[in-house]
């Protein structure tokens, strides 16, 4: 094809993202930048107690205060009083007098005022009388009292299978915050006809819409949602935060109301990654072939269901690792406790169990005297194999290849300047005190929605003449750009399908059909697929209008069979062409009582190798490099894939080395970025990444999702490297300096037989 007839910037090219320059230069408008003339400021009064009965709420004083335009409590709710991602909903929009608050930070009343300080003063003036109740904080205790959000058992193969060697291990994963830099924010504007428009930084406009409509008690169509600029999400924006509250206040005050949380409030204003307690037993034959995996994976779901159900399922389904495991017995469950609800976070259950099963693989390798990478290669799952859920791998599953490629990546040089040492800038370590360790881990996870949900996304594509007469494409979806680069993907897909480089991605809102959530690494497949299919319908119409011998579109032209240009596309656009398409993925099924079923549409695999420098005396670590090979199906935009890999690894470094929400009596102790620490650029390792492109047969363009795998096994690899450097057990992330220095060890607070429910757990004997 002559160069002029190639469409530049299509699928497969590393084009820069269209929203990039605005984002790095500060011109991009984030949710917290939203503004409207005459807007009020909304604020939330929250429960100070993790568990209490609300005896009474008195708002009288607040209502009359200067500037205050609306004060609302549960008594004022016009619609459904409960909302949730979970069905049936269980989370109160506002906790009601006579009812309980179930976590510290639960919303009790909302206020709108002319000035934020007036709203704050009004919150102070609301008198809530609480009868403090004992909080349920220990998840094992909760399970034993029947306070369970979901539990699931997977049984496959022979329950009595006997192995030559068996290793047992106990593992913990701390509660991680998604820490998106943009906190929760939105602006609600009442319409003249009694409806409402809400601009909000969210992961899923229609998922929000359905809940907002119900809670406002409004007819369909009266509420419209528009995407506000999203400053990161990682799961933190899947549940409602300000959505219903801002609308309620705006409807009451008949004025626009803006709400946005500060960093401190944000910690109680969104769900977090479930902390996990895991008891594992792994058996193998003398040659290192896995015989069984038995596991109990206990998650703290917090006070409300949120997406605990799906997290429990993921932790279980992927709980034996990307290995051939003939016999498995996995119990996975989430306890309901009086802590901030836990829910979606990048990796979604797969991160927690990966830390445990990969720790087990290293124990096994040590026991057998095998190289840990050899052991993984020997057991790597292959196309056609079955998972412990009985599902056969029908798509691309290049696990063994990933291991090979990852281990072959060049290792980093020894640290050359003191900044690169553990505790670097602080002058703590000199090269003499530093030991280097290398660790390896692999992981996998599903893409998109599972367990029988009808997963689909909608796109509307319009092709018409622009102001200068040339063809222009407009793409409209309700899918959230949360920083992952979806707008670039949609643009590239439209270019490829329509052969037109001028593509506008319109702002997402609910005037077009549902796109589902920007989660589970699904939007490239789902919304990318919907844009492709809608664009193909548009292309077919152009070709029809052009008539034979028109065959294809590229470089702005209609081409014949040989690829020769017949005419510019705009020639056929006297009438604009617009088509809409709903892309569904293959139906999946639920899991039966033995945890068996084709519950997932597709899987992504990944391997990580970490190199960590450790100052074992001080207990400080510096991750020098994370090398990775990732199964991406096909890279629609390799540059963006690398961006996702680096970002995910940054969060993996955080989970392995420092990030943890600390609770004291149910209260978050470190609700700020001073105390909840995340890696800075100085803590970020070099990343060496190789992409493995084996097209996924069912996925549009063969492209799998790429967002989550970088975070699945990077923490496990980093901790393996720390173990290699120190010889210590390190069975908990984040690894504390104390544990790394060998001054303390994480021991189970309960004894559980792997595979059993913690309902059977007993307390260990006190140390002698």
């Amino acid at each position: 094809m002559p160069e002029g007839l190639r469409t530049r910037g299509g699928v497969g090219e590393s084009i820069p993202r269209p929203d990039g320059p605005d984002k790095v230069s500060g011109r991009f408008s984030f949710g917290s930048d939203l503004t409207a003339p005459g807007m009020l400021f909304g604020k939330t009064l929250r429960s100070p107690h993790p568990h209490a009965l609300i005896r009474s709420i008195d708002v009288e004083k607040a209502t009359g205060m200067p500037g205050v335009k609306a004060v609302l409590t549960a008594a004022d709710l016009p619609g459904e009083r409960l909302y949730s991602l979970h069905k049936p909903p269980d989370q109160p929009v506002l906790a009601a007098a006579g009812d309980e608050v179930r976590y510290a930070g639960e919303p009790v009343a909302i206020v709108a005022a002319e000035h934020p300080e007036q709203a704050r003063a009004a919150l102070e003036a609301i008198a809530v009388e609480y009868e403090v109740l004992a909080p349920l904080l220990d998840p094992v205790d909760a399970i034993q009292r029947g306070s369970v959000l979901r539990e699931l058992t997977i049984r496959s193969g022979d329950p009595d299978a006997v192995a030559d060697v068996v290793v047992d291990g106990y593992y913990e994963v701390g509660q991680q915050d998604q820490a998106p830099l943009g906190p929760e924010a939105g602006l609600a504007i009442p319409t003249p006809h009694g409806g409402i428009d809400l601009w909000v930084a969210t992961q899923a406009l229609h998922v929000d819409l359905e809940q907002v409509e119900a809670c406002l008690g409004m007819r369909p169509g009266a509420v419209r949602l528009h995407l506000g600029g999203v400053g990161g999400a990682f799961g933190a924006r899947e549940d409602l935060s300000i959505q219903v509250h801002a609308c309620l206040l705006a409807l009451k005050a008949r004025r626009p109301v803006k709400m946005w949380y500060g960093r401190e409030e944000s910690f109680t204003g969104h769900v977090h990654r479930h902390p996990a307690w895991m008891w594992y037993s792994t058996g193998a034959d003398r040659d290192g072939r896995l015989v069984f995996v038995k596991a109990t994976i206990l998650l703290d779901g917090g006070a409300y269901a949120s997406s605990s159900g799906a997290v429990v399922a993921n932790a279980a389904c992927f709980g034996a690792g990307p290995y051939r495991v003939p016999n498995a017995h996995v119990w996975s469950g989430a306890a309901r406790t009086n802590t901030v609800p836990n829910g979606a976070m990048r990796g979604f259950g797969a991160v927690q169990s990966c830390f445990a099963y990969e720790g087990q693989m290293d124990l096994l390798a040590a026991r057998l005297g095998l190289d840990p990478i050899e052991l993984r290669l020997k057991n790597a799952i292959r196309p056609g194999d079955r998972l412990i859920t009985g599902q056969a791998l029908t798509g691309a599953a290049p696990m063994a290849k990933l291991i090979d490629l990852c281990q072959g990546l060049p290792e980093p040089p020894a640290p050359s300047d003191s900044l690169a040492l553990p505790g670097g800038a602080g002058n703590v370590a000199s090269a003499a005190e530093v030991v280097r360790g290398t660790g390896f881990a692999v992981g996998f996870k599903n893409i998109a929605y599972s367990e029988g949900s009808d997963d689909y996304a909608t796109a509307r594509v319009r092709l018409q003449r622009g102001p200068d007469g040339a063809a222009v494409v407009q793409v409209k979806t309700a899918a959230s750009e949360v920083g992952q680069g979806l707008v670039t993907v949609c643009l590239q897909v439209a270019r490829t399908e329509l052969g037109v480089e001028a593509v506008e991605i319109e702002r997402a809102d609910t005037t077009v059909g549902d796109a589902g959530s920007s989660s589970a690494s699904r939007q490239t497949w789902m919304t990318g697929g919907a844009v492709r299919d809608a664009a193909r319908l548009v292309a077919a119409e152009v070709l029809k209008r052009a008539g034979p011998p028109a065959q294809a579109l590229a470089g702005g032209h209609v081409l014949d069979e040989e690829g020769a240009a017949l005419a510019p596309i705009e020639l056929f656009l006297d009438e604009p062409i617009e088509r809409e398409f709903e892309h569904h993925h293959r139906p999946t099924s639920g899991l039966d009582p033995a945890g068996q079923g084709d519950a997932h549409v597709s899987f992504m695999f990944v391997a990580h190798r970490a190199t960590v420098d450790v100052d074992a005396e001080a207990g400080l670590a510096r991750v020098a490099q994370v090398a990775t090979a990732q199964d991406v199906g096909r890279a629609i935009n390799p540059l963006q894939v690398h961006g996702q890999i680096e970002g995910g690894i940054a969060q993996g470094v955080g989970l392995a080395t420092m990030e943890e929400i600390k609770l004291k009596d149910g209260l978050i102790r470190n609700a700020s970025f001073t105390d909840y620490i995340i890696p800075t650029s100085l803590d970020m390792p070099e990343v060496a990444a190789v992409l493995v492109e084996e097209p996924e047969p069912e996925a549009p363009y063969g492209a799998k999702g790429v967002g989550e795998p970088p975070l699945i096994s990077s923490p496990a690899a980093i901790v393996a490297a720390m173990r290699a450097a120190t010889g210590r057990r390190l069975n908990r992330v984040p690894v504390s300096p104390e544990e790394l220095a060998g001054l303390s060890e994480c021991r189970p607070g309960w004894l559980v037989r792997p595979g059993q429910s913690p309902a059977e757990a007993v307390r260990p004997a006190p140390p002698l």
Binding site: E117, G262, N427, L682, D683, L743
Partner: protein
């Protein structure tokens, strides 16, 4: 979002005028220099003044008669980059360069760092958070949440430069409404998390004087988890003179292990007259760690922080003694 309260902001031309305003307004007013400590604290309502008095520009790093004199509003970035300071007193320059992060060092001042508020993770929290757990002695309450049986506040002195200045025998120049006086840095602090400064509230720090005798060896080691931003979990400052292999003088002071920068004279005295060996260094570090009393009110466990004092003192002594290898 956390907002600053409504404030009156005064910009006096001289330190004397600044001191006079503060003495007139009393506890309703506070000095502000770079604001990197004070502004976040005001947003969390840890202080509730109605007036801020800007410390006037007091710039310059000068060398006079074997001393360095650093103006109080010299930024931490400027102090850390000053070639004379770096060469003569690397311990102090390092300490300044290790405070917080580059943007904060561009705004934060040396004077502000010496006067920085004590910290506690029950106290450096939002008003709403403190209200939910119950207010403490340091602000609005009547018990200490870290040590409930204690009548006092144990908030931690977190200045990196204070111990580095202390081991030099430094002093500050204070200007009050009635004139100027000089006070050794060692006497600037009190062992109290609330009233942590021994100067009068209306006295402005205008300069810090750092003795820099020929042959003095200095180092500062700061323990923190990340490469940047974090307050010290513990810090160790050392100033050392050697006659060949023999220590002729040694001062050691610690950051972030008490409510004031903690000098440990026993450790310094122990080394004096001795040869620096693995044994003497580790014995001195052991002595230095003894009086350190970290509590459960900062990042990580106090147990680990206490253990680490010995480690960082050891390393600070070694670094001071062998500057080329750092």
């Amino acid at each position: 979002m956390l907002r600053l309260p409504r404030l009156r902001y005064l910009r006096p031309a001289t330190a004397g005028e600044a001191a006079a305003s503060l003495s007139k307004l009393g506890s309703r007013a506070m000095f502000v220099a770079g604001g990197t400590d004070l502004f976040p604290n005001l947003k969390r309502r840890q202080f509730e003044p109605d007036t801020l008095v800007q410390v006037p520009p007091l710039k310059g790093v000068r060398r006079v008669d074997g001393h360095f004199e650093i103006g109080a509003t010299v930024t931490l970035a400027e102090a850390a980059a000053d070639p004379g300071l770096r060469a003569a007193l690397p311990g102090f320059a390092e300490a300044a360069g290790l405070v917080s992060s580059p943007p904060l060092r561009n705004a934060g001042t040396v004077g502000g760092n010496l006067c920085v508020d004590t910290r506690c993770n029950y106290y450096n929290m939002t008003y709403e958070w403190r209200k939910s757990i119950g207010f403490c002695l340091k602000k609005d309450g009547d018990i200490c949440l870290v040590a409930p049986s204690s009548p006092r506040c144990w908030a931690v002195s977190s200045s990196d430069t204070a111990p580095a200045a202390m081991v030099l025998g430094a002093s500050v120049v204070l200007v009050g409404p009635d004139g100027e006086r000089e006070l050794p840095v060692a006497e600037l602090y009190r062992d109290d998390g609330i009233e942590y400064l021994a100067k009068q509230p209306h006295e402005v720090v205008t300069a810090i004087r750092l003795p820099a005798p020929e042959g003095l060896l200095t180092a500062y080691v700061k323990l923190r988890r990340r490469g940047s931003i974090d307050f010290p979990l513990a810090g160790a400052a050392v100033a050392l003179t050697l006659d060949g292999p023999i220590v002729t003088g040694c001062r050691i002071a610690l950051a972030a292990v008490a409510s004031h920068p903690l000098e440990v004279p026993e450790a310094g005295a122990f080394l004096a007259g001795k040869r620096l060996t693995d044994e003497t260094i580790s014995a001195a570090a052991e002595l230095a760690a003894k009086p350190a009393r970290p509590l459960d009110n900062a990042d990580l466990t106090h147990f680990w922080r206490k253990k680490m004092v010995r480690v960082i003192v050891e390393r600070a002594i070694r670094q001071a003694a062998t500057p080329s290898t750092t």
